[in-house]
Amino acid sequence: MKQKDEFYIGYVEDSVGNLTKKSLKNFVLFGIGFLILGALLFGIFQNTASNSSFDFDSATKVSGVYHEMPYPMLQVELTEGIYKNVVLLGFGKFGPNPYLKDIRNQEGDLEGKHLTIEGNLIYYNGKTLLQIDDGQKISLTNSKRTKSISTESLGAISVEGEIVDPKCYFGVMKPGYGKIHRSCAALCISGGIPPVLVSDDPNAISDYFLLTDLKGNPIHKDILPYIGQPSILNGLAEKLGDWHILRIDVSQIRKLNKESSIY
């Protein structure tokens, strides 16, 4: 009887009875407990990010020989005879070509010429990329052409892995792979960023492959349906300095119905 007589009216002060107070206290404890449990579970069991880096707040000047095999890169000499190919990227979800337009108009074909570019470095697991956010930060340091850079053919291979956009994967976003990131990767690659296959086979000849079509031309829009999903790719492998290239027929990519394990 006493329980029934308690009646709460929000705008009347002190209208909360003792039994109601007890129920409210239980609810508040449950609510706070539920949030604490949620914070513990979501906080402890979340996927962790890699130690990839993106120097978004500091610019670096990088000098090297420009080449397109087929994606724009700078071949940088680290020490005498040791080179690193730095993949060039644009700001946001774009490739480097819009930023190279002005210097191409001034200097013509850039292949084999020595450039200095000021941009933001992205690096992880031995690979380096450079974001260009302003065409004015690209300058020609030597117009004399270096002899053409060649690739070494490694034959036909089959690689299992996931196609990502290298800008996010190698440092801008964490994680920069998988289903959550898939839309972003599709925008990046359709915007001119080269597609990269990240291998999840420890015995593969490389962890990473720049993907081209069978003729060695860039691929962007055609590969969008395959991004961010574990797949098997067959193609002709080539070595380009510290990078590998895989020439593929996009229509032959086979999606695997399984969880990504590329990290």
Partner: protein
């Protein structure tokens, strides 16, 4: 109750309510952020914000959704319902921060309009595991936006309680969309059993409480009432109704509340004109039937809110014979004066 519209009609209870849940939100965010910084130090600030506010929003939505059925099962929880809209608007803001940062992170600075990109950057609409889960979250956020932006008595009155209630029942559509958004999105990548487990427990809790509350009400609706020859329905004995309280019966597919007070009985339609609260779970306070949800009041003998308020509910005729209560199932027009039945 209020005659004019203010952004918030603050009172002591609302302030205490808001303080408790604001502190709980801060506690959640601090705990999640500290754990993330300790255990995932390489993560970016954007990912931290997206994860913190997304997970907060979905946990808050579960808490919001259990309040309704808990109150239907036990009126002692009604004070939590009183200011639920503040909790709802806060949950929307958490979801908005999650959605805004996700759109900025994944869909801006590209060659497609960010909103268009939400719908077009993944076109695997025919696949379950590859389904573009962002679309589900975006649609849920739109529903929550319409709910949060109309979460005020001004819109309740101007949209009409029926349309307003219908709009706010869309929270269940939003819940379904958000659940799918999480299972087809984050849980395709974050596959740890404990995180999936807390979502499953939440779903079982929400659906279990709703089913229990619905079963309780259906049982009450299905009680058979004996019809007398002259059209009166025999509903209960007078002693079954407590003083200043009511019993609810379903007559002609409508719920009716029969109140006992000062040696009399009066019957009015059970649905409050404010937000559809169950008047029969209310109490006679200062001579008025008082709604248990937000304290709207009606005079028992005519179903009218006391002046200067203007709300009206339908009234019914009662008869008492040999300790039994009889009701005429046909309702009088809203606000019709009916002589209370003397006990």
């Amino acid at each position: 109750m209020g005659l004019d519209y203010k952004l918030v009609l603050w009172n002591k209870h609302k302030k205490k309510y808001d303080k408790i849940f604001a502190l709980s939100i801060v506690l959640y965010l601090v705990l999640f952020i500290v754990l993330t910084l300790l255990l995932n130090p390489e993560g970016t600030a954007e990912t931290l914000i997206i994860r913190a506010f997304g997970s907060l929003a979905i946990l808050m939505l579960h808490i919001i959704l259990i309040i309704g059925p808990l109150c239907r099962l036990n009126p002692q929880f009604l004070p939590i319902l009183y200011n639920r809209r503040h909790l709802g608007v806060s949950m929307f803001l958490a979801a908005l921060i999650h959605g805004t940062f996700a759109i900025i992170q994944f869909h801006t600075l590209g060659n497609t309009n960010p909103i268009v990109s939400v719908f077009t950057s993944n076109l695997d609409y025919g696949s379950l595991t590859n389904f573009p889960f962002q679309v589900l979250g975006f649609l849920a956020l739109l529903i929550l936006f319409f709910m949060a932006s109309t979460s005020h008595d001004f819109f309740l009155k101007n949209l009409s309680p029926k349309i307003w209630k219908g709009l706010h029942m869309m929270v269940y559509v939003a819940y379904a969309l958000i659940t799918l958004h999480v299972f087809l999105g984050a849980f395709q990548q974050e596959t740890s059993l404990p995180t999936i487990g807390i979502m499953l427990v939440g779903f079982i809790l929400v659906s279990g409480l709703h089913l229990t509350a619905a079963f309780k009400e259906t049982k009450n609706d299905n009680i058979k009432k004996k019809k007398e020859e002259d059209g009166w329905l025999k509903v209960c004995q007078v002693r079954e109704i407590m003083e200043n309280r009511a019993k609810i019966f379903t007559v002609n597919q409508e719920r009716v509340a029969i109140f006992k007070y000062q040696g009399k009985l009066s019957a009015i339609h059970n649905v409050c004109k404010h937000q559809g609260g169950p008047l029969g779970e209310g109490k006679i306070v200062d001579g008025c039937v008082t709604c248990p949800w937000h304290g709207y009041q009606y005079l028992p003998q005519n179903g009218q809110s006391p002046p200067p308020f203007t709300e009206k509910v339908a009234t019914y005729e009662l008869r008492v014979q040999n300790g039994w209560v009889f009701i005429k199932p046909e309702a009088f027009p809203e606000g019709t004066e009916v002589e209370p039945a003397k006990i």
